[in-house]
Amino acid sequence: MTAAATRAGAALRPGLPPLLACLGLLACWQALAHLLTTGGMPDAVATFRELPAILGDQEALGDILDSLRRMALGFAIAVALSVPLGLAMGRSRLVASLVNPLLMVSYPVPKAALMPIIMLWLGVGDASKLLVIVLGASLPVIYHAYQGARAVEEKMIWSARAMGMSGASRLLRIVLPAALPEILVGCRTGIVLSLITMVTSEMIARQTGAGNILFNALDMAQYETVYAMILVIGALGIVLDVAFERARAALVGWSDEPDAIGVTAA
């Protein structure tokens, strides 16, 4: 009875603690800005006042939307390539031992740091940024799809085989659904990573995009713009994560999943 009551209470206000945390962090920022008074740090209120100037500016808004489009496309391509690869690694030891060393070698390399080289080949346009985002978002998805496929109950696969299911349809109808919770954990890390890679790629290839606005403002000492862009990008990260978590809960609510720990940097 008490447990049920607590659960009902928690269900009434599931978003409240993070909201309070958000307000608390903003209050800390406000206090810090007033304590430091170095001039390099505008307070939270001034930054929020700057937001309409950026989001109302056609060009800046277009840039940010362009960035998001690249990010979404890059993430989609990464998932489409990584899930089959990860599943294959999980079901075949040969594939795993072929691919694992490649992943080990590429893990510590910042994917956005490949920008200067990729730009030589593909130019400064969308193609290089897209490729870097795909590379950045792929690793966690591959890794978690691999772990998920490895952990599939062998008996289910044996039963499917005994009932005459072919290899390909076993992968599609047994392994994929069974590994789905784990795959989505990887995707959650991957989507934040694609945002990070998007920002860093635009920071290196200064042409358009959210990262470009942020770092150009830093170079031109427009502090309010810098902090407002940080706010925009940070909010994007939080919104993407929350939205993804909602979608995940709707898709695989049947499996209770531990919080994702992922590599969230590119």
Binding site: P17, P18, L20, A21, C22, G24, L25, L36, M41, R93, L94, S97, L98, V99, N100, P101, L102, M104, V105, S106, Y107, P108, V109, P110, A113, L114, P116, I117, L120, W121, V192, L195, I196, V199, T200, M203, L214, F215, A217, L218, Y223, V226, Y227, M229, I230, I233, G234, L236, G237, I238, L240, D241, P258, D259, I261, G262, V263, T264, A265, A266
Partner: protein, 255 residues
Amino acid sequence: MIRAWRSDALVGILPLAALVALWWGIVAAGLAPRALLPSPVAVFGRTLASVADPAFLLHAWATLSRLFAGFLVALVLGVGLGLAGATNRFVGGVLRPVVRILAPVPKIALYPAFVLSLGFGDASKIVLVVADALFPILLATYQGAARVEPKLVWSALAAGTSRRAAVWTVVLPATLPSILTGSRIGLVVACIVVFLAEMITSTDGLGYLLVRAARSFQTVEMFVPLIAISALGLALNGALAALRRRLLAGFPNED
């Protein structure tokens, strides 16, 4: 077991070798201009030459020292906060929502703020490394500590251990596997972030070497810092795996 591992390692060398062979083939067939894709012989030769070059080693040391400073701070903070959050209900109640908000924020976007408040020197880069490496360690510690069998803690308390001492003598050792897993992720993240920070604002370090080479279109030099950071990450990962085997002899291995 060992033999199986060896044959796995042998199979694992194949794709790496194939990749380098493909690279060499493309260059040898003249499919790509040298200025865009230098030959692997030139790249690996230059990398080997760099390792003997004191100036290069100084740059590598600058990167490594920032990486270590940031990682160690993140380790202490992450383990401390994670344990406190899992063993104290009040700390946990505050920590969980704050982490939920801060973990998905792209830390690299905070870098300009760190630069503006801490300057262009080492401090802002180290703080960025801390901000990025902290969360994997913190989350792993918290989850590991929350899963510790409560009966172990109860027995320690019943045997007269104080609550505080039980955290150090029971919860911390039981959480060690998770802490090491989180540290491994944190270390890779630290490698990535320190390199990026050096690419943005720096006068030394491996990231700076890449930017400098890119500015003057020295393609061969552009590959060297990338190979160096990859090797550095592999070496650190290997060291951590060795530490894990030592500390957790008898625990099931993770890969």
